[in-house]
């Protein structure tokens, strides 16, 4: 009888028993990321274990390493909130001197990356350390109880961006760290999503295999912070892609003129010029993504705020060189 090869290695580096919330999208991302890393190391160096992890303080850190337990089957170190990239730089420098082959994986959430860890990240990228920085983006400070970060999207409720008489919720556009990372002209930058695990794994492997620094920003559902159904994590993340809220792209060596865009699916009509995607006509309205999430519930009483979000999404796509059409829901 033919046995189908599993789509990804069965080796586990992020073991069951960690304390993440039920339905945590970030936990799924870390599981896949480490598997992808292992495959890449096996293919590049013949050693599936040739990596070490330096991780920032945050949800995925506190749920995985509670003394005397650990969920990590790879060498792992946590130092503080803002310095995963700097700690990873030190680990990489030490590995170099020890003559050890492999790559360092730095992991941080959106708070630890887009906000407090921004400087250390920039330093690590600029110094060209052989490190992949994985930003798991659940779009708020979830570990401290759902406060807005600079990666929180416009309109979202958090405990520090509550909607009210004078507030529509978060009132600033989302900051796209992947674009800032790409401006460092590092070999590889990508966005990914747990809504498209195959794409995510491919990108993590690519990031792990390039010589020099890489940055991957993965969109992860947080049912606790997003007030979304536990079982719909992947589905909601996928809706973010299909409605245009979350772009999937790759930028190599800071070449903003040749950004590789992944087609979003969901019936969207893609127009290419010379092989490059220049326009996308989305078919699913962003409301389909917003609706299942309690954090956007209040926006449905203020349709102009949803229109504002649509404009911001268009502007973001324009930076990527893509003209998008975002439909409104049918009346």
């Amino acid at each position: 009888m033919a046995v189908r090869k599993p789509p990804i290695t069965t080796r586990e580096y992020w073991a069951p028993g960690h304390a993440a919330c039920a339905g945590c999208g970030c936990a799924a991302a870390l599981k896949l990321a480490t598997k992808a890393f292992s495959e890449a190391m096996e293919e590049k160096y013949g050693d599936p274990n040739a990596f070490a992890i330096a991780q920032a303080t945050g949800c995925m850190e506190v749920v995985s390493a509670v003394f005397p337990y650990t969920a990590w089957k790879a060498p792992w170190v946590h130092v503080a909130f803002e310095n995963a990239a700097a700690a990873a730089s030190g680990v990489e420098a030490a590995w170099k001197k020890l003559g050890r082959k492999g790559k360092i994986l730095a992991i941080g959430g959106d708070g630890g990356t887009a906000d407090i860890g921004m400087q250390a990240l920039s330093g690590m990228l600029e110094r060209r350390h052989n490190v992949v920085y994985l930003m798991y983006d659940n779009e708020a400070y979830m570990n401290t109880g759902i406060q807005r970060s600079s990666s929180t999207p416009y309109g979202a409720w958090t405990t520090t961006s509550p909607p009210g008489k004078y507030s529509i919720g978060e009132d600033k556009p989302k900051k796209w760290v992947a674009l800032i990372a790409a401006a460092h002209q590092v070999p590889y930058v990508a966005t990914a999503s747990i809504g498209n695990p195959f794409d995510f794994v491919r990108k993590m492997k690519k990031a792990a295999k390039v010589d020099g620094p890489a940055f991957v920003q993965v969109h992860c559902t947080c049912p606790t912070g997003w007030k979304s159904p536990l079982e719909k994590g992947v589905e909601i993340a996928r809706l973010a892609i299909e409605t245009g809220v979350w772009p999937l792209f790759e930028i190599e060596n800071g070449d903003f003129h040749n950004i590789k865009i992944q087609p979003p699916g969901g019936g969207a009509k893609v127009t290419r010029e010379g092989g490059r995607i220049v326009a996308i006509e989305f078919k699913k309205p962003i409301e389909e993504y917003l609706k299942p999430q309690g954090r956007f519930k209040h926006l449905f009483k203020k349709p102009e705020a949803i229109d504002e979000l649509r404009e911001q999404i268009k502007a973001m796509w324009k930076v990527l060189g893509v003209d998008v059409t975002l439909p409104k829901p049918e009346e």
Binding site: A52, A65, F67, W72
Partner: protein, 394 residues
């Protein structure tokens, strides 16, 4: 044969690092310490030191990279001062808690505001609760020697704590003195390779470092740092003795100078000890019974040595380039605590002086002496005294 060179303390620190052969150095420029990483980067550029020099974007990242490298199992060194050390503050606790024997050379400098680049000890004194070992050098030779010894003590399995070696901004960092550079082979024998059994990031034997500890375990983790500090007292004595045997220079946690039959002993740290010894000679010539003592090891605090010192004097006059507001200097607290339960103890008078690079002159020491003599005579005296203030601008 050891060679003698004329050099600044910053260069002596860089030479110490070169001799200790750290595999990773991560540093960020700051006055007055900048020459240390400059010199190290030259050693690396010329192939005289086989280290990765990580040119980080802040002191916070400097110490974070050191923690990463040390957690990966290699000998690690950095240099900083003042605001730079303050920016490292958070990570200093982490380095000690993770038991990583990183060594920092600190060019002791004041803290802002007002911004001031000159000498006092407020920067490293303010880090006294981080768990780091602290050594203070009187001169450039001591800066070199103490850095070598700091590695040896820090990496001892009974200790495994990070260590900082302080030497005074400009007075030492930028002043040339003759310094003996020991032979590399002897230093190699003295220090040995650093092969940690507790800190490595090796895929063949994965371990988790830097975990979360709940209340069920946190306190024990802190207690082990306490124990390591206690253990360090004995280890420091051993390392000082071995250093003397190999290199011929004697070090003591508390070094005494003409303390026999002294009524008043001036106690200080760093380069001020040189000035004070000369002042003692000057007074002894006039028949005034004074002595001096220099605290070389500040953390772990040399309680036993201080108790012994206290038996020799009727008054201890502490000369301190730091302040804990509304209390006095750090030495004042530590000496008071060391002696509080002794049945017989000297009077302690505290003097805050030389902050932000203010020169400490014999005239200032005369002012301190006059107050110490009041205490000696059983008269009323101020416990904490600011010396050398310009009263006309206050």
């Amino acid at each position: 044969m050891p060679i003698r060179k004329v050099m600044k303390a910053n260069e002596a620190a860089a030479w110490a690092a070169k001799l200790a052969k750290p595999k990773v150095v991560a540093a960020f420029p700051i006055t007055p310490s900048t020459l240390v990483p400059e010199k190290i980067s030259e050693f690396v550029a010329d192939g005289e030191l086989d280290a990765e020099f990580v040119k980080v974007e802040s002191e916070h990242s400097a110490i974070s990279a050191c923690v990463g490298a040390s957690a990966a199992g290699v000998r690690t060194f950095t240099a900083t001062a003042s605001q730079g050390l303050a920016l490292m503050h958070e990570v200093l606790f982490i380095a000690a808690g993770m038991r990583l024997p990183i060594v920092i050379a600190v060019g002791n400098r004041s803290l802002s505001a007002p911004i001031n680049i000159w000498n006092d000890w407020q920067d490293s004194i303010s880090e006294r609760d981080t768990g780091w070992l602290q050594f203070y050098a009187e001169n450039n030779q001591e800066a070199l020697d103490l850095i070598l010894m700091a590695f040896k003590v820090a990496e001892d399995e009974r200790v495994l704590l990070p260590a900082m070696v302080g030497f005074d901004a400009f007075i030492l960092t930028h002043t040339v003195e003759p310094v003996e550079i020991p032979d590399q082979e002897v230093v190699d024998e003295f220090l040995g390779e650093y092969e940690p059994k507790h800190a490595y990031l090796d895929p063949a034997r994965p371990i988790t470092q830097g975990t979360l500890a709940f209340p069920a375990h946190y306190m024990e983790a802190r207690y082990t740092v306490w124990q390591a500090n206690e253990n360090a007292k004995k280890v420091i004595d051993e390392v000082f003795a071995e250093f003397e045997k190999r290199f011929g220079r004697k070090y003591q946690k508390v070094e005494e100078y003409r303390t026999d039959d002294a009524d008043i002993i001036f106690v200080t740290m760093g380069s001020l000890a040189g000035t004070v010894k000369e002042y003692v000679d000057h007074l002894r010539e006039k028949g005034v019974k004074v002595g001096a003592a220099k605290v070389t090891v500040y953390r772990p605090f040399p309680t036993e040595e201080v108790k012994e010192l206290a038996k020799k004097a009727k008054v201890l006059a502490l000369l301190e380039k730091n302040v804990t507001f509304s209390v006095g200097g750090a030495l004042f607290q530590d000496f008071s605590r060391a002696l509080i339960n002794e049945s017989e103890k000297p009077k302690i008078v505290d003097f805050i002086l030389g902050l932000g690079g203010r020169d400490v002159t014999f005239k200032d020491l005369d002012e301190a002496l006059a107050i110490a003599q009041k205490a000696l005579a059983g008269e009323e005296f101020e416990e904490v005294n600011w010396i050398g203030l310009r009263k006309e601008i206050l």
